[in-house]
């Protein structure tokens, strides 16, 4: 295969419709006779529901239906949780609260009206009598003795305990020169895709067909779950994910509204739309992170790490969503990062609190792990008065150590960590940065340099390690006209598969990328698939496409060889032709061979007509991209403001299909990390009120908050898939947070500060400097 398109920065095929505003997200779709749903949500974090009075709302103008939890009792199953951990307690989220509410924003009633304004007005007419209960907000208090359990039948608020240990930990700590301990808080975050969620459901009673449009990352899993929740035949459910305006994990879930809106459409026999408001998105779409880590590390004086021990308190919120309990366990698996640490132990306590559930948010458990281990490396460096770069280098596995087995049971596929580190040091001119820092410190200016060397688990993943299948499907169908449909289960929401898969197809079949149509997100067209998350679209979904392409190619080679009288093994696909290697004259146009497959008059003996292949690709392992990020900040001594000065990212995601898109993913991921490091924090007050409930109070990074991001790459292909690609969707987010944290701690080192919990809000930094200003070195 000649790679004319793979590896090239092709412009995206999906962009023309997006930049002209003529594509369709859920809320852009309108069906005849559409009705609108609106949800009444609990203002209390914890309360018994004494009564819900819908009588006024039911009589309001335009209202056709109003329901409370009692009205749908038993009709809809609770929100599913696919993650299973031994001995975990049940905590299923009802689609509408019945007797008790357990977080602010939990849906209590739903109204359907003829337009969205009437639906909203009717909410004000619903009267709910609540009996407020004491909310449990702090996870440490939630598991303290005497705390009242949130869920009936539980004896406490511990959802589960999970442990993992590898290597001889006792020996490690016994032979250590030093043991360093630190408590780290990985704050609660709100994913905030710019498009909120939205659902439309339409039911055709004659055919019994239920169609649900949802802003989802997982159309097929959603279809199965809606069918189960409603006890509706799965064969008659069609789920469509139209354009999806960002997800970051928050749309990798099954939500009450998805089943409820479908239920309402069935009840009413009318199409029903629900568009999530931003406030609802803050309160009732999954949150991310929220871990308290107590970590201990055993080190030698020379900087080598002997053992790592960690206890994580994971705040799960009030109920499980699809993957809630699974997320912190990924932190456990990844805890030793990109280092050769002989022994490690992780204990996780999952805790129920009166908050929205946490679940997969970009990186999902791995940013937490990288943050944990990278903070540890910085603390070790500070304690041993070594350069953070050298401590890292000291503990890297070497290229010939791969495949490398971690004490947590993972097998890292391939890597050359030092190469990426060296490249980053060179791009950043690390030596010079350190000199500049020393000079500025003398002037009373506080510049900090943070280094993060990371590895991540991507390409999720073998089914044995996944809660609901880790494979991906793809069908490639060459249509009679020679155009190619690629049906992928990796339903994208900004990742650009329509382009990258077309690039791949073009090289495999020797035709132009414009000949390809990548179809996704419609369960009635695309074979069952898993979805886009965990940086798996290219590594797993792409491989499925690649394998289907090869199958189609092989068939075409046979047809072409049969037509020109040559050997299928010797057929070359290029420039829209299929030619025999030995003679350019023995050649057919691509379309001619395709036509032969359909007209079926001149096919080789025993060959089926048609030109279509489907693959369900099961990866043998995860992939493990890695890299080095270097961040430079300067802190305003008077205000505590952290200003980004430079950012260098060297990422290795294996082979690259489209460098432009890879760069975009890396930059976006880094900025999402900047958000966590500098601004973002979901704050619940003592009463469980979410007081960062709108974008007026929850700050996302703006263009004006950032510096130029300098990116570079090393390429270490993975042996896990034939494309050698590893995945890049989360790299930026996973690599960047610790680089920022390291830079801030480094800037504050003259104040005797070695660790600060995120987010690095001005006042926090200002207080730290002020408190220790007497100790400035």
């Amino acid at each position: 295969m000649t790679t004319r398109y793979i590896g090239k920065p092709l412009k995206r095929k999906e962009d023309p419709r997006l930049i002209q505003g003529i594509s369709h997200y859920v809320d852009d779709l309108n069906l005849a006779g559409m009705h609108y749903a609106a949800f009444l949500r609990s203002p209390h974090a914890h309360a018994n529901i004494r009564s819900v009075d819908l009588s006024k709302a039911r009589h309001a103008s335009g209202v056709v239906l109003a329901l409370s939890g009692a009205d749908i009792d038993g009709a809809i199953q609770p929100v599913p949780c696919a993650a299973q951990i031994p001995d975990m307690k049940s905590a299923a989220r009802p689609v509408l609260a019945r007797d008790r509410v357990r977080f602010v924003g939990e849906a209590v009633a739903v109204v359907v009206a003829s337009d969205r304004y009437a639906a909203r007005d009717a909410l004000d007419l619903i009267e709910v009598d609540y009996e407020p209960l004491t909310p449990i907000v702090n996870p440490e208090k939630a598991i303290a003795k005497g705390a009242t359990p949130l869920h009936a039948g539980h004896k406490d608020n511990v959802a589960f305990k999970w442990e993992l240990e590898g290597g001889d930990l006792k020996a490690a700590f016994k032979s250590a020169d030093k043991v360093i301990r630190q408590r780290l808080v990985n704050q609660r975050l709100i994913p905030v895709p710019i498009e909120t969620r939205g659902v439309i459901a339409d039911y055709q009673p004659g055919e019994g067909q239920l169609t649900v449009w949802s802003a989802t990352q997982i159309p097929h899993l959603l279809r199965t779950q809606i069918a189960s929740m409603l006890n509706f035949p799965e064969t008659l459910v069609r789920v469509v994910a139209p354009e999806v305006g960002g997800g970051f994990g928050s749309k990798l879930n099954v939500y009450p509204e998805e089943a409820l809106v479908a239920y309402l459409a069935i009840q009413l026999g009318k199409p029903v739309k629900w568009s999530e408001s931003r406030r609802e998105n803050f309160q009732a779409t999954i949150h991310g992170r929220d871990q308290i880590d107590d970590v201990e590390v055993a080190v030698k004086r020379d900087g080598s790490i002997l053992g790592l021990r960690c206890h994580v308190i994971a705040d799960l919120g009030a109920y499980y969503q699809l993957l809630t309990p699974l997320i912190p366990t990924l932190t456990g698996l990844m805890m030793t990062g990109c280092y050769k640490i002989p022994a490690a132990r992780m204990e996780i306590t999952g805790v129920f609190t009166n908050k929205m559930a946490t679940d997969a948010y970009r990186g999902a458990g791995r940013p937490e792990a990288t943050y944990l281990i990278e903070r540890v490396m910085d603390l070790v460096a500070a304690e041993l008065k070594k350069d953070p770069v050298e401590v890292r280098r000291k503990n890297f596995p070497q290229p010939n150590d791969f495949p490398y087995a971690t004490p947590t049971g993972l097998i890292y596929d391939s890597g050359d960590y030092e190469k990426a580190l060296d490249m980053a040091l060179k791009v950043a001119d690390y030596k010079k940065l350190r000199q500049e820092q020393a000079k500025l410190r003398k002037e009373g200016r506080y510049m900090g340099i943070g280094v993060s060397t990371y590895v991540e688990i991507c390409g999720m993943g073998p089914s044995s390690a996944m809660p609901a299948g880790g494979w991906e499907s793809a069908t490639v169908r060459v249509e009679p006209t020679g155009r190619v449909s690629v049906m992928t289960g990796s339903s994208p929401h900004g990742q650009g598969q329509e382009t990258t898969f077309a690039q791949m197809g073009a090289d495999v079949l020797g035709i132009d990328p414009s000949q390809f149509q990548v179809v996704h997100g419609d369960t009635s067209i695309v074979p069952y698939g898993i979805g886009t998350f965990g940086s798996r679209a290219t590594a797993v979904g792409g491989t499925a496409v690649y394998k289907s392409l090869l199958k189609v190619k092989e068939k075409l080679a046979h047809i072409a060889a049969h037509l020109v009288g040559s050997d299928p093994e010797r057929m070359v696909f290029a420039d829209g032709k299929i030619s025999a290697k030995e003679s350019p004259k023995k050649s057919v146009a691509f379309g001619q061979a395709v036509s032969a497959a359909y007209v079926a008059k001149t096919l080789p003996a025993d060959m089926e007509p048609g030109l279509e292949a489907t693959t369900f690709f099961e990866p043998s392992n995860f992939t493990y991209p890695f890299g080095t990020h270097i961040c430079v900040v300067e802190i305003d001594r008077e205000i505590g403001d952290v200003k980004l000065v430079r950012y260098v990212a060297v990422d290795d995601c294996g082979n690259v299909l489209n460098p432009l898109l890879v760069e975009g993913q890396v930059q976006g991921g880094i900025v999402q990390s900047v958000g966590q490091a500098l601004f973002e924090e979901a704050v619940y007050d003592e009463q469980g009120q979410l007081i960062t409930g709108e974008l007026m109070d929850y700050a996302l990074p703006h263009a004006s908050d950032l510096c130029w991001i300098e990116t570079a790459r090393t390429v270490t292909p993975t042996p896990v898939n034939p494309l050698g690609v590893k995945g890049v969707g989360e790299a930026g987010t996973i690599g960047a947070t610790p680089a920022l944290a390291g830079a801030v701690a480094d800037a504050l080192a003259p104040f005797g500060v070695h660790h600060v919990d995120m987010p690095f809000k001005r006042e926090k930094i200002w207080q730290l400097m002020r408190k220790s200003s007497g100790r400035v070195q």
Binding site: D124, R279, D685, L690, G693, D697
Partner: protein
Amino acid sequence: MKLAGTVTLPAPPSEVWSLLTDAPRLSRLLPGCEQLEPDGPDRYKAAVKFGIAAISGKYAGTLEFAEKKPPHSLILKLDGKGLPGFVKGEGRIELTPKGDTTEIAYTGEAHVGGLIASVGQRMLDAAARKIVQQFFDSAKAELESTKGAAAEPNSPVKAHRKGN
């Protein structure tokens, strides 16, 4: 949200006490109080319009006195809900004679939930302070206007007042 402070009112504790515990008079002090009706011993149903400028909402709820130690101290409990959210507060009021006047020390805590908690956050503290200040300003004015005169006897325990 915590509130605390002291204020001096121009009357001896006995008069201040009767002002604070007499529902109809009290209703005139509470900013925005539109209705206060008895609902059991030391307990009243209240309808209040709270807010600042454009941001205001109607709340229905209860007002309760507890641990009354005339004329020294009492606890005032407020509980209300409306479309913008709910408020639940408890305040302890202590009266100390200072010559002809009374020094009032108050400490209280209020919990606010719903819409106002999540979007009005940056204004809440100041709004609460303002409401407390208005309350004591009205009390001052009331005491000054009735100075020397005995409190009105047994007016019907129902008070209405139009908005603020």
